[in-house]
Symmetry: C2
Subunit: 369 residues, 2 copies
């Protein structure tokens, strides 16, 4: 799963902030309006990612998942369609299936990401989905980060065909090069609904996500959210606001990026050692996942069963994120374990892989449609 | 609104518990499974209300509103109907309207509550709603608490006609007599879905509610909830678990009941002094609201506008909780303000009421259909 390492949580600062907050700010425990100072800090954080937005375009949510859910409730009418990639985040598939939409699938690849030409053909063919769902940075599960030219193209298509684009960006701040990739939201503020989260960079159980949306839709999102859970966890929100006030966040982000970069490199080294020519993968620029393509002959779901039973190692098999259509890929997480555990785990999967399969690497595929 | 008084929040104990929790239990900040010890403590709390349930029938939610929302998602199919009272909780009306159900309205009254005979006629007539929604203790907004014989009848009807009954009980522990009324859930465990909350008795922003449901439905609720917001605020849940561990909760409950009882009595005294024969009301046994019937000639929404403009006092007018059908009633909250403020506020409304209206009390009604 996309679990951050709890050993990296800034617990001392958060414990101190929570004690002071509960003692001194009784409205933090009451039904209250969303925390405005937090919205302002989120705008500053987004500015660091290149996104220009103001608090009136920020809507606070119970994690990114609720952000996408509320957008789906806002945009999806009964019987309408949505666009998703042929391999995409299982949490999104689960979320969207509850709305019973027509799912338009666009091919994607762990090397290049979404096939923009295929998407354009769908739109030029007359399809008008309620929205396009993409995760342009550190795609879950493929790990791929889209180049700037594709981001711009996606914004152009959304605008040209007047189709909202939902940009899910939980991993955007976990980049391992020198700079982060500008969100698609930087290219269009009318058709792109950006969804962010502190789950991966601070702590998941705070359940703090946000939407950056055209301001005229914020009121509707609020009405939809109020019906479903009345009020946000303002306690968490004020807590994170107090933590961000301390200015420790920038150093914390640098620290977790450094730790996760080391783990990414450890996983790459372990894959080179233990998977060798049996598999292919791209070293991710950002996020917490490697996607590994296995030979066509390998069913990753079966491999998972064997790995769990014999080696107590787990991963997400391709089947779980492709609506059952693909078998020979696996998503590996490198954020949760230390380098030693990573080397050990990859070694164990590698042993099973070699035992059940002796393969011709020519049979491996890099495109999914 | 149904706001508790933040001055009564147990902040010292909560601040201490939160600091220790964040420092010592890193899984409290991580994605985790729902907090089992909290479920056990909720079972003990429910046992104190006479409800026999085990942790496998308890489902933790982001407040009671989400509890009712998830049950609606579980039980409501497209085009099906639900039963609500002719005057009912506006938050429920807002929630359920998003599902576009056929709304079957049953008459109710601030004196006797839901008209069971009318409900029985609807069911005997062949209607099979997806569920019945009731708030048997401290009805919001009517303030009425159903007698035991009506609770038993409701459970019998649910069972006889195989129609689930959703028992919304946020105020069940705020009773001002010697004992609490047994929830309807005590009379049936297969057809009654009980929804509880710590919002009114601890603090709202913790967002801790729960459903007590037949265990075979817990898994489905989990699937529905995961799609909408992935994970609960485990931090809040562990925090309340730690607070409950300290055994201060029973004394806290006695304290807030005592304070709110005094405020209820202050509001009754103020109503007697300032509303006199212009209005009728029942002194509530539980909860945080008085319902005041005004003469037919008074439009409470217009009164509200005048009160806000001239006296800066607010209440909920009947129109807002009767789908626009009733005008001459008002819901008054007594939990948020101290006795002096209550006397002052009722005095101000009374002045306006007498100025705009000189009435014949014979025109007042006590039944709503």
């Amino acid at each position: 799963m996309g679990l951050p390492d709890p050993q990296l949580f800034p617990v001392a600062a958060m414990a101190d902030a929570s004690r002071k907050l509960i003692l001194n700010n009784r409205s933090a425990l009451q039904y209250t309006l969303p925390c405005e100072p937090l919205k302002e800090k989120i705008c500053a954080y987004m500015a660091g990612r290149g996104v220009d937005c103001s608090p009136d375009s920020v809507f606070l949510t119970h994690g990114a998942q609720q952000g996408v859910y509320l957008i789906a409730k806002l945009l999806l009418d009964l019987g309408s369609s949505i666009v998703e990639e042929s391999i995409s985040y299982p949490g999104f598939q689960h979320l969207i299936d509850a709305f019973l939409p027509v799912v338009l699938s666009v091919p994607t690849s762990p090397v290049d990401g979404i096939d923009i030409c295929a998407l354009e053909r769908i739109l030029k063919g007359g399809a008008r989905p309620a929205f396009l769902y993409v995760m342009p940075t550190a795609h879950n599960p493929l790990g791929v980060t889209l180049p700037m030219v594709k981001r711009r193209r996606l914004a152009d298509l959304a605008r040209e065909f007047r189709v909202p684009l939902v940009e899910d960006d939980p991993y955007g701040s976990l980049f391992y090069g020198s700079i982060s990739s500008a969100p698609i939201r930087t290219f269009d503020k009318n058709w792109v609904y950006y969804v962010g989260s502190f789950s991966k960079v601070l702590a998941p159980s705070l359940r703090i996500g946000w939407i950056v949306a055209p301001p005229e839709h914020i009121r509707s999102l609020s009405v939809i959210k109020e019906a479903s859970d009345l009020n946000i966890s303002t306690l968490s929100h004020w807590l994170v606001d107090a933590y961000l006030e301390s200015n420790e966040f920038a150093a914390h982000l640098r620290m977790i990026r450094s730790v996760y970069r080391e783990r990414r490199d450890a996983m790459n080294a372990a894959l080179l050692e233990h998977f060798g020519s049996t598999a292919t993968w791209i070293v991710p620029e950002a996020g917490v996942f490697f996607w590994v393509n296995l030979p066509d002959s390998v069913d990753a779901s079966e491999l998972l069963t064997t790995c769990l039973e014999n080696e107590r190692v787990a991963f997400l098999p391709a089947e779980a994120c492709s609506r059952g259509k693909h078998k020979n890929g696996m998503r590996l997480n490198f954020s949760r374990c230390n380098p030693g555990q990573i080397a050990d785990g990859i070694g164990r999967i590698g042993r099973i892989l070699h035992r059940i399969n002796s393969v011709d690497p020519q049979t491996m595929r890099n495109d999914f449609d």
